[in-house]
């Protein structure tokens, strides 16, 4: 546990010593707020729901999560610092979890900073507390799965730019693949398969305020699967 925390602390310091953390925080807060009040016309709509606010977050994550995770492994191996990290007395699983909670911690911090929006608008109308909670939970779970995917991509990429592009394309695909069903009529089995892999589909019910264990399990499985693959990549590299 202390081993994982030591890496989390180091990752956090790296984020906050470079502009990246501040850019990510400001970009996310400003973009989502502008979206809510100007594009989605929250005030004019006169509906006591923050669906528009949380609904845009998965789309923002497509660019935001790769920006957080692209450096984590790719930059280490490019600068050679992975030789330090991998020869310190850590287990591979500790390294991966440390990296994960470092990046995910920053993402949760960003989400925490968004609470000002719900806090400031809830007095205006009859908002459902449960719905907002479900929305936060869904976005947090989506963030975990996305971070795990981004980290894994970073571990197989040669440099941070390709890590960024690869994971952004991956997240874009997984987020928007569900739209296919809205455009064309596919056989039911294919449609439900597409829905099953789609991140957007699973986060959708959370955003409507429904907490379904199947969606919960989906996000946890994706997160654990990619963290596991990440560990395997590290071990595999030692043998290759």
């Amino acid at each position: 546990m202390t081993a994982i925390l030591s890496i989390v602390r180091k990752e956090m310091r790296s984020y906050f010593n470079s502009p990246i953390a501040y850019i990510v925080i400001v970009f996310f807060l400003v973009f989502t707020a502008v979206w809510l009040f100007y594009v989605a016309q929250f005030v004019a709509q006169d509906i006591a729901s923050l669906r528009a606010y949380f609904g845009i977050m998965p789309i923002v994550f497509i660019g935001l999560i790769p920006a957080l995770t692209m450096r984590s492994w790719a930059e280490e191996s490019k600068l050679g610092t992975d030789e330090i990290l991998l020869t310190l007395p850590y287990r591979e699983s500790e390294l991966v979890l440390g990296k994960f909670f470092g990046a995910y911690g920053l993402l949760l911090l960003v989400l925490l900073l968004t609470v000002f929006v719900p806090f400031s608008v809830t007095p205006l109308g009859n908002f459902e507390r449960g719905e907002i909670f479900g929305e936060y939970l869904g976005i947090a779970l989506l963030g975990a799965a996305g971070t795990a995917i981004g980290l894994f991509v970073s571990s197989i990429a040669r440099n941070q730019i390709s890590a960024f592009i690869l994971s952004a394309v991956g997240l874009l695909f997984l987020t928007l693949v569900g739209q296919v069903n809205a455009i064309i009529d596919l056989p039911t089995w294919l449609a439900s398969l597409i829905n099953y892999v789609s991140l957007q589909y699973h986060v959708g019910s959370f955003i409507r305020g429904v907490i379904d264990t199947r969606d919960l399990v989906y996000f946890l499985v994706i997160t654990v699967l990619f963290l596991y693959l990440n560990v395997k990549t590290l071990v595999f590299r030692k043998w290759s």
């Binding site: 202390t2 890496i7 010593n17 600068l79 050679g80 610092t81 020869t87 007395p89």
Partner: protein, 315 residues
């Protein structure tokens, strides 16, 4: 302390290390010497658990590196080639992280950090971001990182590359100091480095050990006897003169015209050759020392081609 048996490492199809066995005892400073690409770094990466060997076993402090990497990593300090560092941290933050990773707490932690800062001369740089440090300071930060937990074993990959002559002297002195109570393996392609720092040398070429021994042994073997090429300007080499040569040295090859190649006996010098020449009515026109330097040995051992060809290449 370190025991490598039949180590083998392939990167895909590329052979990096082939059948390398050696052992290092406690308290020794051993140098891995070889041209670039000879497999020095690969061997060090195997010993530190960064890579696992394709075949063979590396034992460090009684632990098999591939079976028990965490135990091995706990007892070694490693300075990788070019001293990679986290550029976006300050020296203090970096050493803090290493102290965390090494599970140093409380007094031990404070003492360890103070000790390495002093030892590596980094007190004035403590709050500077690493990416603003000069090459020399970077190398010292790398070394500070390696010795923070006072490891029994130090593994240093080309610890002096990219440093200026003064810095090289400093780092060598530092390594010498550390080596008095630690086992040190270092790699280098600079011969003087081995002579300056190491008790024992392994010369690597093309992934294999080409020669090994103490610095003196290799030096003696490599330098060989003192040989002079002597050109006789007057007189001729009589049988008497030949006999008188006993005790001073001996002819390496039969003389070709006025040119003699004479190997001196132990403890004899060029002046003895002059005395011998005068005593025997010979006039020396030229006296050219012919010596195998460590450099010659190194070149001949590691030059492209087979060992046989290499032997012929010796002067």
């Amino acid at each position: 302390m370190i025991e490598a048996t039949a180590l083998m490492k392939y990167y895909g199809q590329v052979r990096a290390v082939h059948d390398v066995s050696f052992s290092v005892d406690k308290g020794e400073i051993v140098g891995l010497l070889g041209p670039n690409g000879a497999g020095k770094t690969t061997i060090l990466k195997i010993l530190t658990g960064y890579h696992y060997p394709t075949a063979g076993v590396a034992m460090v402090n009684g632990y098999d590196v591939s079976a028990n990497p965490v135990a091995v990593k706990s007892c070694i300090g490693y300075l990788p080639e070019n001293a990679p560092l986290y550029d976006d941290l300050t020296v203090r933050e970096y050493l803090d992280f290493i102290a965390d990773a090494r599970k140093l707490t409380g007094h031990d932690r404070v003492n360890a950090i103070t000790r390495v800062l002093k030892l590596c001369g980094l007190e004035t740089q403590i709050d500077r971001p690493i990416d603003q440090l000069s090459k020399g300071f970077r190398q010292r930060v790398g070394l500070a990182q390696a010795i923070l937990h006072d490891p029994d074993i130090l593994i240093l990959d080309e610890p002096t590359t990219g440093l200026d002559p003064n810095q090289i002297q400093e780092i060598r002195r530092l390594i010498r100091t550390l080596g008095s109570d630690k086992t040190v393996i270092l790699s280098t392609h600079i011969l003087q480095e081995v002579e300056a720092m190491c008790d024992r040398v392994l010369i690597l070429n093309d992934g294999e050990i080409a020669a090994s021994g103490t610095t003196e042994e290799i030096g003696r073997e490599l330098k060989g006897e003192k040989v002079f090429t002597v050109r006789i300007a007057g007189g001729s080499l009589s049988d008497g003169a030949r006999q008188a040569l006993e005790g001073v040295g001996h002819l390496v090859t039969e003389p070709i015209g006025p040119k003699l190649r004479i190997a001196l006996a132990e403890g004899r010098g060029g002046e003895d050759l002059f005395r011998w020449a005068v005593d025997n009515g010979l006039i020396i026109g030229a006296l050219i020392p012919e010596r195998y330097s460590l450099e010659d040995i190194f070149t001949s051992l590691t030059a492209a081609g087979t060992t046989g060809a290499a032997e012929e290449a010796l002067p």
